[in-house]
């Protein structure tokens, strides 16, 4: 393995560890917004990881997957804000 490839894979491992650590916020909350935010960060982390993999393995098509994630990054957060945000914070309605 050439040195650039090792660097990219090491960084990808590091980002995955970051993602694992961020799971703590999803598990702990305390508010639903905190959990959603952490999940949003995972999306960005996955994009960065995919871009690193694409460069390390020389597979240009992997960037398309990162592009897909980037395009759809907002969907679950939007669904959360519009629909699922529970009344645990208070009883106000979303509409």
């Amino acid at each position: 393995m050439i040195i650039v490839e090792i660097l990219h894979f090491t960084l990808a491992v590091f980002l995955l560890l970051n993602l694992g650590a961020g799971m703590w916020r999803v598990l702990r909350g305390p508010t639903a917004a905190d959990r959603m935010m952490a999940a949003q960060l995972f999306g960005t982390t996955a994009v960065a990881t995919l871009l690193l993999l694409a460069q390390a393995t020389g597979t240009s098509a992997v960037r398309d997957i990162a592009l897909m994630f980037a395009l759809l990054a907002a969907i679950s957060a939007v669904a959360f804000v519009r629909l699922t945000w529970p009344e645990e914070e208070n009883k106000d309605d979303l509409a």
Binding site: F14, W24, R25, A33, T44, L51
Partner: protein, 99 residues
């Protein structure tokens, strides 16, 4: 390694540091709003530096264009989501942290 490789490696490492900072902020900051602040740093700067580092090594301008497009889409999503969550949180009566 050439000078460009060193530059790329530096940018990538700096990007990773911002991802770490984002995660640490997410874990350590006291309330929704400050955590949101930490999160957007990872989104904007962390991914930005990663993209910059990869763009230096990119084999063609098309690849650079795609990288920048991906970054800008993530920026757009991140900014909109941060806004929606912050406004929703205020609306729902989650009070900002005061030291």
């Amino acid at each position: 390694m050439t000078l460009l490789d060193y530059l790329a490696a530096t940018l990538l490492l700096a990007g990773a540091v911002f991802f770490l900072a984002g995660t640490l902020g997410l874990l350590r900051f006291p309330d929704v709003y400050t955590r949101l602040h930490a999160l957007t740093k990872a989104d904007n700067v962390g991914l930005g530096l990663t993209v910059a580092g990869l763009a230096v090594q990119a084999e063609s301008w098309q690849v650079v264009g795609k990288l920048v497009l991906i970054w800008m889409l993530v920026l757009l999503a991140g900014a909109s989501v941060a806004h929606l969550i912050a406004r929703g949180a205020l609306h729902k009566g989650i009070r900002p942290w005061t030291p």
